[in-house]
Amino acid sequence: MSAVATQLVRRPSVVAGTLMTAATLFVAFAGPALAGSPDEFVGAPFQGPGGDAPLGTDVMGRSVLARLLAGGRDFLLQGILAAALGVGAGVLLGVALASASRRVADLVLSLNDTVIVLPQIVIALLVLTRLGATPLTLVLVVGIVHVPQSARVVRAATQRVVTQDYYDSARTLGASRRRLFTGEVLPNIAGVVLLELSIRLAISVVVLASLSYLGFGSTDTQWGRMIHENQGGLTIQPWAVLAPVICTGVFLIGVNLLRGGTVRALAVR
């Protein structure tokens, strides 16, 4: 275990990824406490940096910094919840598919694959125009569109486990279905699930930001919303758009570096 830890620390991509992820998480979760009021008007619209607004003002004349600090928590939280929901349901479905009879599995999988073909963002847009974008519907929609893909990945990993001799060995010892799941399957697919979670987290954030940009996302103060609102002033006051873009980008790159580095460190052993 400690060998893996040394491998991790020695990899620049892991160190950089950890720093970037931690920094954005800090900004997002400590931000609301540090920020001034995000809704207070501090100057004329699209003013450059200075005075009460270190990052300038937005389309309504509010402080970009205050809104940046206030707008990360719910945004990332929604992404995290959506990823957890999608992968959680994907694990249940994937494991069920791996142990289902061939006929049932084939049927569900072909349905599953049909859904995978549809772009996630299109499904999300469709549902959100019907139901309206509340934090709950956003998390549900973005989460549920992950399920088919996660289920496929988890099913493949589970199938590798259930064809192993140690799984058969547990069966010959009379282990119950629940014990087989918690004792044999889950510990051995944990790595794959963790990876899947990090991929889904990044995609969730991208989908949420895209939805906001298209005007279908949350109406609360959020990074995605800021990009949408301020795009008109991109040439006059670029910081109003760039600040949330940079924060989102740093988070995504950080998560990806962390994942890539971890995978390689684990693979070498």
Binding site: T6, D165, Y166, S169, A170, R171, T172, G174, R179, P187
Partner: protein
């Protein structure tokens, strides 16, 4: 690139990059052109690392820290990426262990070979065709268009390995490295592949480094034998000399572990159970068993019994249906006609429908100890869990029982907390045995339990099993290795294509085989 050059490795040191452990301690090795060198040693001895260094390669996690590897005028250590790419194939050929994974499954075999030729500057289609025909002809494969258009999965294991070998030899390299090229093959195919490599090296004048843990195989084929132990060459000389007067203690251990030829082993055959015991009836009775895979029958009408205290061996080559029979008995294979009785009671097909007494009575030990232990569980927990599930013990009771069981198979309490990846193959197989024995089974099914282990470790496991047997353990012992049978089983059944072709007391089967197939098995392995 067929100028006679040979290979010279000198002062080669290879380290692990993470903990700086030295894996090869300054190895010197010179092999002349046309020489066939067998490299023997156990898993982890460094024999594969040594062999692969001939390609200028160290697997990820290892790096060359000193020394040189030269083939003719070409230096492989320190060569650039592009130069190495050119040298590999042209100057040094390589045949990997598992042909099934070494060949690109999406590439037809002809296209695979053409790609190699193209990468080394032979772009002319006619020239390519000529070379491929010559290479496939040399390894005894057809080279008509129909064959060249096949995909690797349409070939048998032996054919796949021939394609691998043809690929390695097609550019007529000066050196060819073969890494356990016969592991997955049955005895007859194994012998054919080795003979082929031998002939090819003679006719092409290539030096051959043949890496194997199968000492018997190397002794029959190699001109020169090298024994690698803990990262150093401990013995090196003409095969006959090394076999007759080993210079190192470890070589002696290895040689002692080679199963004796069949004739010699007959002298110490095991007595059967005394007639009085037979009154209770057989522990296991399999009757008219026809098992199917996806509707296709893989065994036909197999029947046999195992009496208490007896060991019955099922012998056959890969594909003979012996593992399917074992899995059927264990309740892991459910598609079959016929009956399986334990102490006279018909067993349910699926393991999930058998009661706890039946589960306890019938314990299964798997072929591959690297797959049969959950990698996320310590050895002690794996064994203890069996006691909790089958014997209904509490956790502390089971932990005590596990410690005792591990001791019984020759492991110490130190191994209780070990993760499987920290254990050797032999240690893992002992843990798997302990997990079966802790249940105090009526009958133990051993499915090729020694075939994935090194020779000296095989001997230890067999010794352990014979010891258990003299304590009265009943066994169904499945193997492809006839000499092994003579040391352990009282009765032997020979399986071919899913049917029993010969059955009887082991000494009779081995001494006076009635079936032509049994005789063939004996000549191949003996």
């Amino acid at each position: 690139m067929s100028e006679a050059s040979g290979i010279a490795i000198s002062g080669l040191r290879i380290h692990a990059t993470d903990d700086r452990r030295e894996v090869l301690h300054g190895v010197d090795l010179t092999v002349g052109p046309g020489e066939f060198v067998g490299i023997a040693g156990e898993t982890g001895s460094g024999k594969t690392t040594l062999g692969l260094s001939a390609l200028g390669f160290a697997r990820p996690g290892l790096s060359v820290t000193a020394g040189s590897v030269a083939v003719g005028d070409h230096q492989l250590i320190g060569a650039g990426r592009e130069e190495l790419r050119r040298l590999r194939g042209d100057v040094v050929g390589y045949v990997p262990q598992d042909p099934a994974t070494a060949l690109n499954p999406g590439l037809r075999v002809g296209a695979g070979l053409r790609e190699v030729l193209r990468a080394h500057g032979i772009g002319d289609r006619d020239e390519q065709r000529r070379r491929i025909a010559a290479a496939f002809g040399a390894v005894g494969l057809p080279h008509d268009d129909a064959f060249l258009r096949r995909y690797p999965n349409q070939l048998s294991g032996g054919q796949q390995q021939r394609v691998s070998i043809a690929t390695a030899f097609v550019l007529r390299p000066a050196v060819v490295v073969l890494d356990e090229p016969t592991t997955g093959l049955d005895a007859a195919t194994k012998a054919a592949v080795v003979r082929l490599v031998h002939d090819l090296s003679r006719s092409a004048g290539a030096s051959v480094l043949f890496i194997s843990h199968d000492l018997r195989l190397l002794m029959e084929t190699a001109d020169r034998l090298i024994v690698v132990y803990r990262g150093a060459i401990v013995d090196d000389g003409p095969t006959a000399r090394v076999a007759a007067e080993p210079r190192h203690e470890y070589t002696r251990t290895l040689l002692a572990a080679v199963p004796a030829p069949v004739g010699a082993a007959l002298a110490r055959h095991w007595p059967g159970p005394s007639p009085g015991d037979a009154a209770t009836g057989p522990v296991l009775a399999v009757d008219a068993l026809t098992a199917r895979h996806a509707g296709v029958a893989v065994t036909s009408d197999v029947g046999f019994t195992v009496d208490a205290g007896e060991c019955v061996a099922l012998v056959g080559e890969s594909g003979s249906g012996k593992t399917t029979i074992a899995r059927t008995v264990a309740g892991l294979h459910t598609s079959y006609d016929g009956t399986v009785r334990l102490d006279g009671e018909v067993l349910a097909r699926s393991v999930s429908r058998r009661n706890l007494t039946q589960l306890r009575a019938l314990q299964y030990v798997f072929q591959n100890p690297f797959g049969s232990l959950n990698p996320r569980r310590t050895a002690g927990r794996s064994v203890a869990l069996a006691a909790e599930l089958v014997l209904g013990m509490s956790r502390p009771e089971a932990a005590d029982a596990a410690a005792a069981a591990l001791e019984r198979v020759g492991l110490s309490t130190r191994h209780l907390r070990s993760q499987p990846h920290a254990l050797s193959g032999g240690e893992r197989q002992r843990v798997a045995l302990a997990r079966a024995l802790i249940c105090r089974p009526r009958i133990l099914i051993c499915d090729e339990v020694t075939s994935s282990l090194d020779l000296s470790v095989q001997a230890e496991i067999v010794q352990l099993l014979t010891g258990l047997q003299s304590d009265g353990l009943t066994m169904l012992f499945i193997t492809h290795d006839l000499p092994l049978v003579s040391t352990i089983a009282q009765r032997t059944l020979v399986l071919r294509d899913g049917a029993v072709v010969e059955a009887g007391p082991t000494p009779d089967v081995l001494a006076t085989p009635q079936h032509e197939y049994t005789r063939r098995l004996l000549t191949v392995t003996g």
